[in-house]
Subunit: 158 residues, 2 copies
């Protein structure tokens, strides 16, 4: 029997596949399908996505948040977690967490030949700024001088 | 190979089985095993538990939060979600969300004959107060006059 709010069958939530990234970063993450479970449930203080990452794709560029804790829990398949400390393989049933303000950029990469599915969770903080860690990635997200936008590292617009 | 922070194998996190509830509510929830994944990962802005609910047990008394969004995602087994609207069966892969301030009390009940496992997630807000919805449940958690404590509805201590 179908459920109704406050319960939700994630499979009934529309998927979106978009990114704020310009090229050449855009095609490193897409297609990457997200179902916005928190939004669908009317939550405003935490964000929750059920995300499917295609083989060969990256969850994001390697990054960290100034004001949002982030948590991921792998449900199906496997992903490689890249941080300053190197790479680790996360299989279904494993998780990772990234405290707000800890300047250790992370990203997930699907190096397998099948889709990986995971939950991603964070608190929601409008002032949150995202810094990217890899020297060849020229991005900043939501800097104080350009709220809601991605800019070059030097602050100039894309 | 074992993973290390910021990754975590939940099975390496110690379980706790406790509650702030006095009897007769205490034995309605325990044993109920929780692994504090958010704490283990150093997260402070969101709380994340991996919880195992034994057959016949309740996740909590039916309640709602004044300042914390809550989200549950069922990983194994099944639970019955009770709210004002009635009861719904949630199987593995289904979820539910409870916006802060929405005065529709909820609880999960394991009416099956095997353990149910779910993730529970919330933002963390020290001022959060929890009100219990069923008339026969004489509890309030963390009221302004008794922070960090459970009291009777009329504010007197247990």
């Amino acid at each position: 029997m179908p459920v109704s709010k406050p319960a939700l069958d994630p499979q009934t939530v529309a998927t979106v596949s978009n990114t704020v990234y310009p090229e050449p970063y855009r095609s490193r993450v897409l297609p990457r399908s997200k179902r916005g479970l928190g939004d669908a449930l009317g939550l405003t203080r935490i964000g929750i996505n059920l995300t499917t990452l295609s083989p060969g794709k990256e969850s994001s560029m390697r990054h960290w948040h100034t004001a949002e804790d982030e948590f991921v829990y792998v449900l199906e398949g496997e992903v490689v977690l890249r941080t300053e400390g190197g790479e680790q393989l996360l299989r279904a049933g494993m998780c990772a967490g990234f405290p707000a303000g800890a300047a250790d950029g992370h990203q997930l990469i699907n190096r397998s030949n099948r889709p990986a599915v995971y939950l991603e969770v964070s608190n929601r903080e409008l002032s949150d700024t995202v810094y990217y860690s890899d020297p060849d990635v020229d991005l900043v997200w939501n800097p104080p001088h350009a709220p809601g936008k991605v800019t070059h590292r030097d602050g100039t617009p894309y």
